[in-house]
Symmetry: C2
Subunit: 140 residues, 2 copies
DNA sequence: GCCATGCGGTTGTAAAGTGCAACCTCGTGG
DNA sequence: CCACGAGGTTGCACTTTACAACCGCATGGC
């Protein structure tokens, strides 16, 4: 099935092309927030509360790396840490009011950029694309 | 159009999720080759020959970074540098035989991993997904 | 009930990637 | 002919990251 292989090559190429540029664009997204810290903050918001170990597993990062990034986020006042009542070893991370506000602003900015990028795409195509990406991401 | 915005959010999230993991997986792909150096080698192959400045522009990297990575690739024997006959300031980069072989091997490995990942997808879905990604990538 | 094992987190250390700035060389246009 | 700009290199500082050693707490087998 050569067509399928050609499609797989294209998928690989485009996904890595995106990965290469993601870092660069994220760097100029919001001051003091990198792609990783932003993603972490986003996941904490998405989950409502979670532990650092969850972040490490989700992002495939070492727990030491997560620990430092979480410390940075806390110093910026974007998340709060409280001991987990169910397990004194761990701590529950939650977004602060400032963190939520920043996320909302960033999401709005992002959405504007994306709206522009997807002009010319029909609603159906956008949704189908999102569907494929989600399906792909679920394969982890 | 809330559905469309939700789809855009999902696209953003999945693309960045991919970016996060790409680096991790690339790190353990081939010894001594990172995602960036690999991508550079791939672009040099794709173009046949190019200058370091082309790489910098394409990857949105500082020319100093490219210079170091190119040096690394040359030390690994994966590319060759020759002065540009048309402009003595620049140099033409070309993949070496080893470089081409490594790229071919990596592509094969990648393809195997992707075949596995896309089991359960119909040919039509794979091609449509590739089509969307290409269309997205063309927006740069 | 007690200790071995394991998990969640932190800190030290080292390696790698990156951007900025200064500099060199070469080409180009006034 | 000289000033300016482009391609590359190197020095420097900063950031990210993984690995390893360590601490505190939890849990299961004895």
């Amino acid at each position: 099935m050569p067509d399928r292989d050609a499609a797989l090559d294209a998928i690989q190429r485009e996904l890595t092309a995106f990965a290469r540029r993601a870092r660069h664009k994220a760097a100029q997204m919001h001051p003091g927030l990198t792609l990783v810290t932003y993603s972490m903050l986003d996941l904490v918001k998405e989950r409502g509360s979670c532990r650092a170990a969850d972040l490490a597993a989700h992002f495939m990062l070492d727990k030491s790396t997560v620990s430092r990034q979480v410390t940075a986020l806390e110093k910026l006042g974007l998340i709060t840490r409280e001991p987990d009542p169910d397990d004194q070893r761990g701590q529950l991370l939650r977004p602060s009011a400032d963190g939520l506000r920043l996320l909302a602003e960033a999401a709005e900015q992002r959405r504007l950029a994306f709206r522009e990028r997807f002009t010319g795409w029909s609603d159906g195509d956008v949704e189908q694309f999102a569907h494929y990406l989600t399906r792909y991401g679920a394969g982890d």
